[in-house]
Amino acid sequence: MKVYLAVFSAVAVFLLLSLAAPTYAHHGISSWFDMSHSVSVKGIVTSFDWTNPHSYLYADVKDAKGAIEKWTAEMASPAMLKRSGWRSDTLKAGDEITLVGKTSKDGKPMMLLEKIILANGQELATGQALPAGTAEGGKAPKE
């Protein structure tokens, strides 16, 4: 039930976001991710890239009909993650987690990860007070 609600909420938020998305003037285009609020999805880790410039977490998330949606969560560099308590073996394939983050504006199953909640309830923030980027490229608001 919880999974259903989480996924349903995520999908509902997604739809609302895509319908409500305004057409930004060129100078209003900001980041790839909707920074205005966070979304939660529950899934199973398929792989975890502990790499520069970003680490990536890949998870299979079931939608309301039980179909698998493949999610990608972008995180900071390994060095910055380590400073927030992450390690290269923090996650492995098969781990059940909840992903919380800012979702992609184009409706794709992608997010800028803020934190994960492990099956045992432990929360791990990415410590990203600062937006992710290739160093910073790509995420800065134009204005």
Partner: protein
């Protein structure tokens, strides 16, 4: 006083009066200690755009170039190219400052780039334009004054895409205002690209115990727009 003692007394007085100790210098004549700005520092607040609400004082051609800049598609940094200076100082990853007699060296974790500020010379003649420019520095009291020229014009001034010309002249005043806080006051003077100088400030906090780690930008870069 006996006449025989006058001369030695005068000599003694002169020796004392003219000695380095009396004149306020140490007896070994070392220069005054250099202010210490060394350590690992991290931007206190990420401010990607110098003019978040628009209004940068751009020359017309620079305004056109700015309109064509798109942080999502054509930021040179997306291809792991260096941010260049001054954007180097705006990157939200830790940097470490080292001080050696001839240079102040800043090693930035993002993207494992280094700035060298030469303390022992003037600007080189016939500079080849570079990402970081040619930086020279001197101390004014406890403030490191850094003067940089000789820039490539392919870098962005900020993450929002503000352009600059090769004639950009950057002056920074860097000061450690307390043990844990470093402030860089930057003046970007580029009359070719801007109608007036741009002044901005960045604050960094000391990160004791942090080490600058490896950051191989091309390891798993999904944002590169380089032509293959």
């Amino acid at each position: 006083m006996r006449s025989g003692l006058i001369f030695p007394t005068v000599v003694l007085i002169l020796m004392v009066a003219l000695s380095p100790a009396t004149r306020g210098q140490s007896s070994t004549s070392l220069p005054s200690p250099m202010p210490d700005i060394s350590g690992v520092w991290l931007l206190e607040k990420y401010q990607p755009a110098l003019f978040p609400k628009g209004g940068a004082p751009l020359q017309p051609w620079a305004e056109e170039k700015f309109k064509a800049a798109n942080p999502q598609t054509n930021d040179p940094n997306l291809a792991c190219l260096p941010e260049g200076v001054p954007r180097f100082m705006f990157v939200p990853l830790p940097l470490e400052i080292f001080q050696v007699p001839t240079r102040v060296v800043i090693l930035h974790e993002g993207i494992e780039w280094t700035r060298q500020i030469y303390m022992n010379r003037q600007h080189l003649k016939d500079l080849d334009p570079s990402y970081s420019g040619d930086s020279i520095g001197k101390w004014e009291g406890d403030t490191l004054v850094v003067d940089t020229i000789g820039f490539k014009d392919s870098t962005w001034v900020d993450a929002g895409g503000l352009p600059h010309s090769e004639a950009m002249h950057l002056v920074e005043r860097i000061r450690r205002i307390d043990h844990d806080t470093l402030v860089d006051n930057l003046t970007i003077d580029d009359p070719k690209a801007y109608t007036k100088p741009i002044r901005t400030q960045r604050t960094y906090k000391l990160k004791s115990g942090w080490e600058i780690e490896e950051y191989v930008c091309e390891e798993n870069n999904k944002y590169s727009h380089k032509e293959k």
